[in-house]
């Protein structure tokens, strides 16, 4: 059992190395050129963020499909899988009031819920704030508190609320970094480096990451064919998903 566990652990740990090896192998197939480490890391960051952003539009699309009974629940419920992928980045925190506002966590991607004293705090759009605050029956109150987002701070309504906020949110992803040591003038993968960071997305996204990085790499090495091929693979995948 132990060796098998080790194999899976190692596989997860080296996802970034797998992606880099595959990308380099595609690029070098016909001696088209290569990518520097810093270029790869920059593209890896972009690719990861791009796929992560797509999670949310994909979630909406799959929800629509599911409501239209075009998505199976019994086997491979893609919506649940995707929700689980997003939930991996869910985080909780307590935020204290500073002056008149609450400072957002530095790794905030999107807030899921703000809770004040056990009560859900609701987002109040700025253009509705005045109307709601002067509403005789539906304005923000201690029972139904709200918050406005202004200048990248949260302002609780009513403003008299001053206790801590309990926050659940989706955090931003750590930037992937392929680290190395130089041996005989060649960079050799070194996952023990202090600033090493693997992709945070799951193994399901490995193909997507390779394709995204190849699209950018094709531009860098001035090989339109690489970009076109990558884009074509992407388009075919999307077409299959929509059938």
């Amino acid at each position: 059992m132990a060796p098998l566990f080790f194999v899976f652990l190692w596989k997860d740990l080296v996802m970034i190395d797998n992606v880099r090896s595959t990308v380099l192998s595609v690029l070098n197939k016909e001696n088209r050129g290569t990518l520097t480490v810093s270029q790869f890391n920059a593209y890896a960051k972009y690719a990861q963020q791009s796929l992560f952003d797509q999670y949310f539009s994909e979630y909406s699309r799959l929800s629509t499909l599911k409501n239209a009974r075009r998505l199976s629940r019994d086997q491979g419920d893609k919506l649940t899988i995707l929700r689980s992928n997003i939930d991996k980045f869910m985080k909780s925190a307590t935020v204290s009031k500073t002056s008149t506002y609450y400072i957002k966590p530095s790794d905030l991607y999107a807030p899921i819920s703000l809770v004040y004293g056990g009560k859900m705090v609701e987002y109040i759009p700025k253009h509705k704030q005045t109307f709601l605050e002067s509403s005789n029956i539906s304005g923000p109150s201690t029972l139904y508190p709200g918050y406005c987002d202004e200048n990248d701070y949260w302002y609780l309504k009513p403003a008299s609320l001053a206790d801590d906020l309990s926050l659940s949110y989706i955090r931003t992803l750590a930037d992937p970094k392929w680290t190395y040591t130089v041996v005989a003038e060649n960079p050799i993968f070194n996952p023990s480096a202090g600033d090493y960071q693997d992709f945070e997305l799951g193994p399901d996204d490995e193909t997507g990451l390779i394709i995204e990085i190849l699209k950018l790499s094709g531009v860098t090495i001035r090989e339109a064919e690489v970009t076109q091929a990558a884009a074509q693979i992407d388009a075919i995948d999307a077409q299959k998903e929509n059938v």
Binding site: M120, E122, S138, Y144
Partner: protein, 285 residues
Amino acid sequence: MALTDQQYYNDSANWGESQFVLLKDIINNFMAFYVGDDKLINDVQRYDVVFHAKRGLQELHYDALKDVRALELELPDDLRLELPKDFVKLIRLSWVDDLGRLHQMMSDNQTTIAKAYLQDNDYNIIFDSQGAATEGTSVIDTKLALAQSVDNDTFTNLDYEFFGGRFGQDTKSANVNGKYNIDKNLGYIRFSSDVKGKAVVIEYLTDGLEYMNEDELKINKLAEDFLYKYIAYQIIQYKFGVQEYIVRRVKGEHFAALKNMKIRMMDIHPFDLVQALKGRNKWIK
């Protein structure tokens, strides 16, 4: 957690609470079970739900719940009483006799509550430095306050009602229990001198929102289902892009829930019918 019998009976705040469900629980349930990606309402703000829930509560109080509140007050010498804080509509005004029974009063159409502007010797209206007409006490109020109190327990002023001559009683004003006028804008009731110095009872409808804190607002459980349907209908009918057949369906559900709720809330018991029918063989003389 359910209360023990001892906890329930020892605290008067718990008495009869099982009739009600809190409005905040209804709003929470609505957000949890009626709103979501796989629900008819996929996206709505809680403040919208709070608004419609409270409006629904008001409508219920006006229409179906008939939650009549009563307030007893001693009538001061100026024969005026302020309207209760949560007053929406008057049901009945009565004075209390020595046996604690209520005697219903009637609205006085023969007088009114009028502003009285001060006038100079040439009958010109007197204005203050801001250009506003200065007000004084109306002759009506002065005359009413000067009227002597009467003891309605031993004396009737039916004779007064018989004024009208040989054609008999003027039935539209025939009442020995005194009269009143309401000024809804200024927010007070003025009584006739018949009830000077007596205790009066104001029975009125409330909208259900004013007399409690927001987290204490509650509604009878028999009306709970209606309130969910009401909120859903109000949201869906004003939501952009909802198919008309869905709007009609929700409207139908809301209407059916309203009828069901009204039937449930009707306080009709077989015993009352039997009691009323006991006199069916009574001879009418």
